[in-house]
């Protein structure tokens, strides 16, 4: 029997219907309520739970959750008797999500299911890192992260498959944006981390690619090709992400998931380098930048890798940038180009154009990068 931890962010999604760009922050929540916002997350969770009950074999799961709006009510509406492990105050906040996660971790859940948006995903990511298998029920205003099922009922179906050991797992991006900037009309999402999610190709991502790719193997194919073709004495600036991380793993070197590590002659020269360290290191020396693509969005620079500053990028030039991404990831862009947003229009212009993206061992796809 699978132990499923359920955490609902009760206020997730309330801003969307009343035209706000999120519900993070007490002031925004009050504004949303005054504008007539209604809680959406609970209803969406009920849909997921009903789908789970319908598709899962009897006695194949047990739900652990929080009292009241953070899970108990939704379970009751779906006809499920949960075990309550955490009692939040009436006014819930991010700390409650973290507290609830902590309580569930103590009880060794097989997976954690949360209903919310990018903000909730961020809180979960902070709390569990890669220590738990999770799945998001999409209920927030902002859904940029790739950790959510495509819709609540699909979350239920996916969990049912999980209860029957018919799912895989993969790491997916947790993205979030600066909500203040967003409300002012500026979109600036950035990579915040990765969560290990329950995965079945047609229930988590849109069925654009169809093929059944093993991401881990594809990443290792890319990594092995990169390593086999590393040139002597050249500095390799390995950017953020799971695709790039595979290179460090194959080299058996420590890595920084959300930072830049520098490798020369297959040895780690500098871990989690900042712009200043990079500039000192590459001064008049041959170097190459290796970056991955942010899934679903296509950003290669300007989102979570500010260490690759315009100065660094101009020194490198387009010819010394190697973009790596699995074919699955490229296809999921649905024809949208790769995006540059270095913060400097001259640099953006310099780097715009076609790249040969490495997508597997000796597999190269021509893809265009543009700036907005």
């Amino acid at each position: 029997m699978k132990k499923i931890g359920l955490i609902i962010n009760p206020i997730a999604g309330m801003g969307g219907r009343v035209g706000l760009k999120g519900t993070d922050g007490a002031d925004t929540l009050q504004k949303a309520i005054s504008l007539g916002a209604k809680a959406e997350a609970e209803n969406k969770t009920v849909k997921a739970l009903l789908a789970l009950q319908e598709a899962a074999p009897e006695n194949s799961f047990i739900i652990y959750t929080c009292s009241g709006k953070m899970g108990e009510y939704a379970c009751q509406k779906a006809g499920i008797s949960p075990i309550i492990v955490y009692h939040p105050d009436a006014m819930t906040g991010a700390q409650d999500t973290k507290n609830a996660v902590e309580e569930m971790q103590k009880r060794n859940m097989d997976c954690l299911v949360f209903a919310g948006g990018d903000g909730t995903a961020r809180n979960i990511c902070q709390a569990v890192g890669d220590q738990a298998l999770v799945l998001g029920i999409p209920a927030g205003v902002k859904i940029h992260s790739a950790v959510f099922a495509t819709k609540p009922t699909n979350a239920g179906k996916l969990l049912a498959a999980f209860c029957q050991n018919k799912t895989a797992e993969k790491e997916s991006e947790v993205m979030d944006i600066d909500e203040d900037a967003f409300r002012n009309g500026q979109v600036s999402a950035r990579l915040y981390g990765y969560l290990r999610i329950i995965y079945a190709p047609n229930l988590v991502q849109s069925l654009k690619s169809g093929g059944v790719f093993n991401n881990k193997e594809a990443n290792f194919g890319i990594a092995d090709y990169m390593i086999d073709h590393m040139e002597k004495d050249v500095y390799y600036l390995i950017g953020a992400g799971t695709t790039t991380r595979a290179i460090m793993e194959r080299l058996r070197l420590p890595y920084t998931l959300l930072g830049v590590d520098i490798v020369q002659n297959k040895k780690l020269i500098c871990q989690d380098a900042n712009e200043k360290e990079i500039l000192e290191m590459i001064d008049n020396k041959p170097f190459k930048i290796v970056v991955s693509v942010i899934g679903g969005q296509g950003y290669i620079f300007g989102r979570g890798n500010q260490q690759f500053s315009p100065v660094v990028l101009q020194k490198a030039g387009k010819e010394n940038i190697q973009i790596i991404a699995t074919l699955d990831k490229l296809v999921a862009l649905q024809g949208k180009p790769l995006l540059l947003d270095t913060g400097d229009s001259v640099t953006d212009k310099l780097l715009a154009g076609f790249y040969q993206v490495l997508s597997g061992y000796d597999e190269h796809y021509v893809y265009q990068a543009v700036y907005e």
Binding site: K208, G210, L327, L330, F354, D362, H364, Y365, V366
Partner: protein
């Protein structure tokens, strides 16, 4: 006046037939061959001694022991559980060009004058078939504009590989074999256009389609050509059925840096008499004689990927080739620069014979009519599908005509109802259709479907085909579970994908079956 379309109340036979090995009963057998007459026995001696020991099995093969009537019954039952071109309007299998294979051509290849030929016979005794092979080559030269053909490759994949080998030989002979190590292809080309050059050791660079036109971007091509470019391998037209109006420009770009251009024309059905690979500047091409040229399909078995090249590349073609000295036809085994043999003897000559018979029966005007009819049929069907069927679309260049096939998308239907292309494909079986081709991987078009209504189908066939999908779409919108759980009337019900994909569950032989099931 539009005739009312009545959908069939179809139900496939379901015999629940055991595997032939399970039917085995020790001691049962077919016919007993009477012993040879005494005189023959005396002449031959002990038959056991005639066969060299090295060719003899040490243990008898574990074949099923079944009497002749049971064998006949078994295979007839299986045949009733099989759908195919000769029992249904096999419009669904785009890229495969499932057209009618005239039965008279089967009589030719089964005629003892052909069937009893031996490949080691002296040329003087096989002038007839040599003449046919030679003349078939002349036909394909005219159809493609190329200067020489080899019929040795045993399928489209092997023809592309053989073209890659010729390409390699050409650059090597010019002293550029090491330098020219890159091949360019497109993601919508048949996957073998990437796989074959990769097998030959080339770095393969793949172009993505332009999001608006669906055709490869000329600018993207310009960004990757260089002194390392060995060639461009491209399926033309690609399986979207979209006419690539920039193909000549692409060829010129590759030629400008010294590369060669190879057209995969496995499916040539929309181009007969309209345009030729050579006229667009291509240096090589291939045709699948088992597709556009009517010979039946055979899954790399009785197939032929006819490989055509320009004069300067002819010396590299597989050998032997049939030549004519003005008086007689003969096998030419010379050719020091040939890439060698790619198939035993002369390839699948039966397929060449069928294709030659078909070409001669059609004539030049008839071939042009094939393309015209295939294109008209396809666009008629597309109009019906897009007008009458809810939830389907034809992405890229919407509103424009297509060539011989269309890659549709059921994405809207999936979004609206949860019913996707795999559900619809299974449900089509309940209406008596052969399953349809979705797409090569990866799916650039979501929820894809790629039918190809060739020239062989009537308006009534096309109307019935469209009406079936109109009906299935209605079902998807009114009762999605009905479609999701289909099929109900076919020999095999819904099969779960994970089970098929799991190598642990894969059983490819009786021996493996027994092992995995713990049988003795």
């Amino acid at each position: 006046m539009q005739k009312e379309i009545k959908l069939r109340n179809f139900h496939e036979a379901k015999w629940d037939e055991p595997i032939v090995c399970e039917l085995s009963v020790p001691g049962q057998r077919g016919i007993l061959i009477p012993p040879a007459e005494k005189g023959i026995q005396n002449e031959i001696g002990d038959i056991e001694k005639v066969i060299p020991a090295s060719l003899k099995r040490k243990k008898a093969p574990n074949l099923p022991e079944i009497a002749q009537p049971q064998v006949l019954r078994h295979y007839l039952r299986l045949s009733q559980e099989t759908m195919g071109q000769e029992i249904v309007a096999d419009i669904g299998l785009g890229t495969c060009t499932m057209k009618y294979s005239p039965k008279i051509n089967e009589q030719f290849v089964r005629n003892s004058k052909f069937a009893d030929l031996h490949p080691l016979q002296d040329d003087e005794t096989t002038q007839g078939i040599l003449e046919i092979i030679y003349k078939a080559e002349q036909c394909l030269k005219a159809i493609s504009g190329m200067d020489a053909f080899s019929f040795q490759p045993g399928g489209g994949g092997q023809a592309v590989f053989s073209n890659a080998s010729v390409l390699k030989a050409y650059h090597t002979a010019r002293g550029e074999g090491e330098q020219r190590n890159e091949i360019i292809t497109t993601i919508l080309s048949h996957p073998v256009n990437a796989a074959s050059p990769a097998t030959k050791g080339f770095k393969v660079i793949t172009l993505m389609p332009d999001p608006k036109t669906g055709c490869p971007s000329v600018e993207a091509l310009k960004s990757v050509v260089s002194e390392h470019t060995a060639g461009l391998f491209i399926t033309n037209p690609e399986d979207t059925g979209i006419f690539n109006s920039q193909i000549k420009e692409m060829v010129d770009i590759v030629h400008s840096v010294g590369g060669l251009c190879i057209a995969d024309q496995a499916d040539y059905n929309g181009l007969f008499g309209i345009c030729r690979a050579r006229d667009a500047g291509f240096d090589m091409c291939h045709f699948n004689l088992h597709k556009s040229f009517s010979s039946p399909h055979g899954c790399m078995g009785p197939c032929c990927g006819a490989q055509g090249v320009k004069e300067e590349l002819a010396q590299y073609l597989p050998k032997p080739r049939v030549k004519f000295d003005g008086e007689k036809y003969y096998w030419d085994y010379d050719g020091k620069t040939s890439i060698g043999k790619v198939r035993k003897f002369y390839g699948v000559v039966a397929t060449v014979l069928r294709a030659y018979a078909w070409i001669m029966a059609m004539g030049a005007e008839g071939l042009r009519e094939v393309a015209d009819t295939a294109i008209i049929n396809n666009n008629y069907l597309m109009k019906k599908m897009l007008t009458n069927v809810k939830g389907i679309s034809a992405p890229w260049q919407e509103g424009e005509f297509r060539m011989e096939q269309v890659r549709y998308s059921w994405e809207k239907c999936k979004e609206d109802t949860g019913v996707g292309t795999e559900d619809i494909e299974r449900r089509a079986g309940d209406y008596g259709l052969q399953s349809y081709f979705l797409s090569h991987h990866p799916w650039l078009i979501a929820e894809p479907m790629t039918p190809e209504p060739t020239e062989a189908y009537s308006k009534a066939d096309l109307d019935e085909y469209a009406a079936i999908f109109e009906k299935i779409s209605e079902e998807a919108y009114s009762d999605p579970e009905l479609v999701k759980n289909a099929p109900y009337k076919t020999a095999i019900s819904k099969v779960s994908h994970p089970g098929i994909d799991d190598p642990n569950d894969l059983i490819v032989s009786w021996r493996v079956y027994k092992k995995k099931k713990g049988l003795k």
